[in-house]
Symmetry: C2
DNA sequence: AGGCATTCGTTGGTGGCGCCAACGTCGGCG
DNA sequence: CGCCGACGTTGGCGCCACCAACGAATGCCT
């Protein structure tokens, strides 16, 4: 649906370049994960569990950046598939403790492989140095805006 | 909702960096345009009209990259606000010819100003050279994936 | 000890964006 | 003439980000 060249008014906007390339990246990721019946949220949650160990849904949300209401839905799916276990915290009955099951660990590994392939696909036209540069620039932008968010949340 | 640091498994994925920064960019754009009751699609369409002149909805979709079904909705809003005019093409009665009204031109200018401010906000941590580098890298990625899309559409 | 604010999980809903299927209308070409 | 295709439109889907509200439970503060 976008055969002709976009107007310069778009091409010259960094925000447009970002959201467009991100859209392509998102499609690659969705397709890659879709092939093993997974979605972005699943990877974020399982990766967080793997790296930080068992956690409540709230801390899981904070680590993964997934909204708590979406964490509920994603964990419903993951638990139904046996990839996570949801058991009540005896020390605080408001909380659930989420753990990664062996099946979940296997699934996570499969996701990682898919995502590695996606990165290759995504970054194909760039050489190693350029990839590093891109990563650095994006990381700096991200850090900046994450800080801004934190400040405005604590101030407001 | 994302207070703690994301896991390294995310930070190391270029696709994640892209979609995250794009999400921030998208929010800035949405807020900026929202202040003047505009949305992303509106800008894309008006900018296309401004740069390429009056066009049918189909060619407008091709230029702006907005899906035709979404073009309909956006043009309903823009026409209702008097920013565009939709008149039947006498030469081809399937087509509508969309034109930019004076009011639309004014609106476009206001959007441009907002978006310029957003770019500043978005890229604040980068100096001029770094901004140029980022633009170049993203443009190359975008061109690559756009070509891939075209090829697969004409092949399949 | 009592009362209040806060946290946690959950439900249901919103909006943007990208996209697909279907349909009636109309034009162009073999 | 008949068929294929383009055009505009409607209605719907999926993913992601996010918000409001609620009951249950906890912790703090007095």
């Amino acid at each position: 649906m976008s055969d002709d060249a976009p107007p310069e008014a778009l091409r010259s906007l960094a925000s447009w370049l970002l959201t467009q390339t991100a859209a392509h990246a998102h499609r690659l990721v969705t397709d890659g994960l879709g092939a093993i019946a997974a979605r972005g949220h699943h990877y974020r949650l399982l990766a967080s569990l793997d790296e930080f160990g068992p956690a409540s849904q709230a801390t899981l949300a904070r680590h993964s950046g997934v909204h708590t209401s979406d964490v509920v839905a994603a964990l419903n799916e993951l638990s139904a598939a046996g990839h996570t276990a949801r058991l009540p915290d005896p020390a605080d009955r408001r909380r659930n403790i989420i753990t990664l099951t062996p099946s979940g660990r296997t699934h996570l590994t499969a996701m990682r492989e898919r995502l590695q392939a996606v990165q290759e696909d995504l970054l194909r036209p760039l050489d190693a140095t350029e990839r590093a540069t891109l990563t650095t620039l994006l990381t700096r932008l991200l850090a900046h805006h994450e800080n801004r968010e934190r400040e405005s949340r604590h101030a407001g």
